[in-house]
Every structure is written in structure tokens, then in C-alpha cells.
């Protein structure tokens, strides 16, 4: 028994040693990441971790990540990166702002970035994603192409970020048709695809002929309803075009790993300036992805109009409205 245990210990030690990444040269950039949950969640935390991996690949940076749950752990995590001389530390969520400000004072050589938020200090900045730039364009498509003058949106929970994308969608639709009506339903959660389907069918019954959703996983129910009734709809956050290729016209896509790489490159090239970093179309973090199979069902004028607007947003000559946070 003892021998087996010793063997097991040896084996696990060997495994640990072999499994460790080779130490990088000391000149390599060091990047840390604090996540509020497990990086295996296939969602909010996983995309941040993916961003960290990309930073390692593209910039050959030395990377580290920690799962931190409480404000005390946020601070502790940031401090550990400051102490070890990291160049850059991400806190993945607006809840990391206070900890970033405190650690920022203590470790002026490390740059602290929070995902969303508004706190700025000489070495602290938030990055804020502008998915609204794409949802505004989806609104324009609906405003131009709808025959009933009505579109519906299905949300999981009424979070500021979700309400803001709906606000931009409505603004886009009403920019081309001032009388356009956007009906809103919240289902109260992000899991129940059955509820999302019921909500979507209610919207279709109320005359909506375009549907946009922010229901994450429950969006499957939205697509199911749209397929059944042959009503066109839009995907969100990820490129969802393949999930229902007969009805999804386009998706508003958010490239979170791209945003992490963007910020790391700024720091790497010594171009970082303390400010709120709005990351959207210009930084290629946000994009509108057409479903090529259905693009032909949209009139060429609308497509041209959307592409023109998209170019204006990218050039910075047109600003899309956002909700209050």
C-alpha cells in the first residue's frame, strides 16, 4: 500500500513538472488575469481565458490566471501580480474596479484593466465593449425590411448591457422608419428555451416580422419559433448564423478574446494611456456578420445602406446611441 502511494506521489510530481510550461526569457511580457468564476464555464470567464491564451500565442507573453470570488481576493490577486512585476493585469468584470484602483496606487509599474466599468487612474483603465454598434445596424435592417413595421426583442434578464443593445436596435430601426415599433419581452432567465419560444411566438402573433434576442442559451427557443413560423431573426454575441441558417439573417458578434489581445498589444507597444477604452467596430472587437444564404433576401439598397453606416461607424464619423449604465 505504502509503495503504491509513493509511486502515485512520484507520478503526480513528474506529471506536474513535465506539465509546467517552460520558463520564458525574463524579457517576455507578463500578463495576469483575474476571473470571477471558473474559466471552464464556456461563457463569460472562458472567453477571457481564451483571450489570455491568444495573448500568449501572439505576443509570446508569460501568462497566469486566478479565480477570485470576493473583493478581498480581487485585491490579493491584483497585488500578487503587482508584487511579481507583471506588466498587465486584467480583472474580468466591473466589480474589479475598486481593487484595481487600490492595487494601481501600490504598484505603479503594472497596468490594471477591468472589463467594463468607469474607473480611470494613471495605470488603471476599463475596456468597454460596444455591441450596440452592431445591434443598431440590425435595427436598420429590420426597419427597412419589415413589412409590418414591427420587430420584437426577447431578453433574458433586464441587465443594463442588454437593455442598451435593445435601445440601439430600436434607435436603428426608427432611424429609417420613425413609426417603427419594437416590442420587448423579458423571460426572467437565460436557460429556459421553452419560455423564450413562447415569448417569441407571442411577439410573432402581435405582428412582429423580425426578432432579435439577448437570451444567451435560451435563444435556441427563439430560433425554433422563428423556424416554425418562417420569421426572420438575428443572432447575438456569437456568430449564431449556423444555428438556424434558414431564418437568421445576420449576427451581432462580440470578439472578447480580440479585445484582450488589443489591450495587451497597446501595453506591449507602450501605447497605453489612461482612459475608458471603448472597443467596438474600429478595433474589430464588434462586427456584423451576414448569413450569406439569406443576404440575398435583403434588398440591395438596404445592404448598401448598412454597409455605408458600418463604414461610418468604423471611421468614427457616426456615433451609435447607448443606454445609461
Amino acid at each position: 500500500m505504502k509503495r503504491i502511494r509513493a509511486l502515485l506521489t512520484l507520478a503526480s510530481l513528474a506529471f506536474l513538472l513535465l506539465g509546467c510550461p517552460k520558463p520564458e526569457s525574463s524579457s517576455a511580457m507578463k500578463v495576469g488575469l483575474l476571473t470571477p468564476g471558473s474559466v471552464n464555464d464556456n461563457g463569460w470567464n472562458a472567453i477571457a481565458y481564451e483571450g489570455l491564451q491568444e495573448i500568449h500565442k501572439q505576443l509570446h507573453a508569460e501568462i497566469s490566471n486566478q479565480e477570485t470570488k470576493t473583493p478581498a481576493e480581487f485585491e490579493e490577486g491584483f497585488r500578487s501580480y503587482g508584487e511579481k512585476g507583471y506588466d498587465l493585469a486584467f480583472g474580468h468584470g466591473f466589480e474589479f474596479q475598486d481593487a484595481a484602483l487600490k492595487a494601481g496606487k501600490q504598484y505603479p509599474k503594472t497596468i490594471f484593466i477591468t472589463t467594463s466599468g468607469s474607473s480611470v487612474a494613471p495605470n488603471v483603465s476599463p475596456m468597454v465593449f460596444e455591441l450596440e454598434q452592431a445591434t443598431y445596424l440590425l435595427g436598420v435592417i429590420a426597419g427597412r425590411e419589415s413589412k409590418t413595421g414591427k420587430a420584437g426583442v426577447v431578453g433574458g434578464i433586464n441587465l443594463p448591457s442588454i437593455a442598451s443593445t435593445f435601445l440601439a436596435f430600436r434607435a436603428g430601426a426608427q432611424s429609417v422608419n420613425p413609426n417603427f415599433e419594437v416590442k420587448e419581452i423579458y423571460t426572467g432567465n437565460f436557460d429556459d428555451a421553452g419560455a423564450a419560444k413562447l415569448a417569441t411566438l407571442s411577439l410573432i402573433n402581435a405582428g412582429c416580422d423580425f426578432i432579435f434576442h439577448q437570451a444567451n442559451e435560451a435563444g435556441r427557443g427563439v430560433f425554433q419559433a422563428c423556424q416554425e413560423r418562417k420569421v426572420r431573426c438575428f443572432g447575438s454575441n456569437k456568430n449564431q448564423n449556423d444555428m438556424a441558417p434558414d431564418v437568421i439573417v445576420a449576427s451581432a458578434v462580440l470578439d472578447v478574446p480580440g479585445a484582450f489581445v488589443y489591450m495587451a498589444k497597446l501595453v506591449h507597444d507602450h501605447k497605453f494611456k489612461p482612459q475608458i477604452y471603448w472597443l467596438g467596430r474600429r478595433q474589430r472587437v464588434v462586427s456584423l456578420v451576414w448569413n450569406d444564404r439569406l443576404k440575398s433576401s435583403i434588398s440591395p439598397q438596404t445592404v448598401a445602406e448598412v454597409e455605408k453606416l458600418d463604414a461610418a461607424i468604423q471611421a468614427g464619423t457616426f456615433t451609435v446611441p447607448r443606454g445609461k449604465f
Binding site: 464556456n42 433586464n158 419581452i185 423579458y186 428555451a193 421553452g194 407571442s202 402581435a206 412582429c208 430560433f223
Partner: protein, 283 residues
């Protein structure tokens, strides 16, 4: 507006079909003297096995069969502990829900990028499940539970198990059969949820339907009529509140989301009648 609310009724009947199947299944089990909290886990597992099988075989029928198999596997686990080892049923049921949520969650996250979960599921064309759930199964159950010797014995397992033993019948066997009936019904419910109401599996997609089913059985006073009425009221109230949200009257949606629960509670409490649970429920 009224026409829109009326239009919500057929939507409600379809959308609450999985709930009804769960309610009917739980009713049978509770009549046999067991409380199966694990029903939520059975449905969730069925949703996943149904999607996996339907994607592999491109067959809706096989999807539903796999759903039943998935629910039966979890149901058998419950039976093993609750019937065979006579462990506390509430504890077993809770553990089974957590197990199923964990298992399906892990499998889903591991395979999320594979075609099984990315591509749309096969089209569900002729819907036989709705008339089956709302008409055929209640009639069959009413006959089985109240018009046959088997039904009498099954109900006796819930009231006075000693009487069943006294006539030389096996309580355990009747409870296993009740669990099998529940497995078939919740298996269909889970498969319907994932294949007909959704275009595939989503993590924790049953989102509490099993628990709502449990309370409808109780508020429906362990009767088939109560089960049907409770589910219909809950479903119609849910669909109606979406219509109200869509009408944009400025009513806070949080209040509207709570409406189905309040309405169902009021209606089922308002029906006069003696409330009496099966005497040996949970023992």
C-alpha cells in the same frame, strides 16, 4: 388585445405540454407513496439524451426513445435508493437533481463546440405529443388508476402499504412500475422540450419545471382533474403575460413574470375540497 390573449391559449397548451407530462408522471408516483424531487433531473437528462440521439440518427422518434431511456436511467437510480435501500426520498431526489444538472452540464460544456450541439436538431413536423399528453394519457391513467385492480393496489401503496402486503402483492413492484410510468412521461417531456420547444439542448433548460410540477400535483390535490386544470391555468397565464409584455402597456415585467404563479395558486386554492395527501407519501 382580447384576440391576442385568445391567440395565446393554443400557444400555452403547446408550451406547457412538458409540464403536464411531468405533472402526470409525478401524480402516479405520489399516488404510489413516493415523492420524487428528482423529476427535474430526469427531464433534464432526457432533454440531453434526446438531442444526442436525434443528432446521431437524424430521427425524431429515436430522439424521443432516447429521452425515455435517459429519464429511466435517472429514475432507476432514484428507485434504487428510495425503494430498494429505503433512503429518505427528499434527500435522494435533491441529490439526483444536482447530479443530473452537473452531469448534463459537464457533457454539454465538453461537447459544446461539436456538431451535436451546434447544428439545429431534426425538424419536428407532426406533433402527436400534444394530443397524447392532454387527452390520451389522462384518459389511460384515469382508467388504469381508478378502474383496475392494479390501480387500486398502486394507490394502496400510497395509503396503506401494509394492506398491499397483506393480500400478497409487492409494494416495491408497484412502486417500480409507477416509477417506470413516470420515466416514460418525463422522458417524453424532456425530449419535447429540447426537440420541439427548443432547437437543441441548453444548460439547465428545464429551469424548475420539475418543481413546478410537484407543486401542481399538490395544489391539484393528487387528482387528474386538478393536474390538468392547474397546468392549463399556469400555462395560459404564462402565455398571457408574454402577450401583455408584448403589448407594451408599461406594466413592470417582473410583476408579469410572477403572474402565472399567483394565478395558479389562487385558482387551485379557491377550489373547494378536502386536502388530503396519500397517507404513506414519502415513507
Amino acid at each position: 388585445m382580447t384576440s391576442q390573449l385568445l391567440a395565446a391559449i393554443p400557444l400555452a397548451i403547446v408550451a406547457s405540454t412538458p409540464l403536464l407530462l411531468a405533472v402526470l408522471g409525478e401524480l402516479v408516483v405520489e399516488r404510489a407513496g413516493m415523492i420524487n424531487l428528482g423529476i427535474e433531473g430526469m427531464m433534464l437528462t432526457a432533454a440531453m439524451t434526446a438531442v444526442v440521439a436525434a443528432q446521431w440518427t437524424h430521427s425524431i422518434t429515436i430522439g424521443f426513445l432516447a429521452g425515455i431511456a435517459g429519464a429511466a436511467a435517472i429514475g432507476a437510480l432514484f428507485g434504487l435508493f428510495a425503494i430498494r435501500f429505503a433512503v429518505d426520498q427528499i434527500v435522494t431526489g435533491t441529490a439526483i437533481v444536482l447530479l443530473a444538472q452537473g452531469l448534463t452540464g459537464v457533457v454539454y460544456r465538453q461537447l459544446q463546440q461539436s456538431a451535436i450541439f451546434l447544428q439545429p436538431v431534426p425538424r419536428f413536423d407532426t406533433d402527436v405529443v400534444v394530443p397524447l399528453a392532454w387527452i390520451v394519457i389522462p384518459i389511460v391513467l384515469a382508467f388504469l388508476l381508478w378502474r383496475t385492480r392494479f390501480g387500486l393496489r398502486l394507490r394502496a401503496c400510497g395509503e396503506l402499504p401494509a394492506a398491499v402486503t397483506a393480500v400478497g402483492a409487492s409494494v416495491a413492484m408497484h412502486r417500480w412500475i409507477a416509477l417506470a410510468i413516470e420515466s416514460v412521461l418525463t422522458g417524453i417531456a424532456g425530449a419535447y422540450l429540447a426537440l420541439a420547444l427548443s432547437s437543441g439542448f441548453a444548460e439547465n433548460m428545464t429551469s424548475g419545471r420539475g418543481f413546478i410540477a410537484l407543486s401542481i400535483v399538490i395544489f391539484g390535490r393528487w387528482k387528474l382533474k386538478g393536474a390538468l386544470l392547474g397546468t392549463a391555468v399556469f400555462g395560459i397565464a404564462a402565455a398571457a403575460q408574454y402577450s401583455l409584455q408584448a403589448s407594451g402597456r408599461g406594466i413592470p415585467f417582473h410583476l408579469l413574470l410572477a403572474m402565472p404563479y399567483v394565478v395558479t395558486l389562487l385558482i387551485l386554492c379557491g377550489i373547494a375540497g378536502r386536502v388530503r395527501a396519500p397517507e404513506s407519501l414519502g415513507r
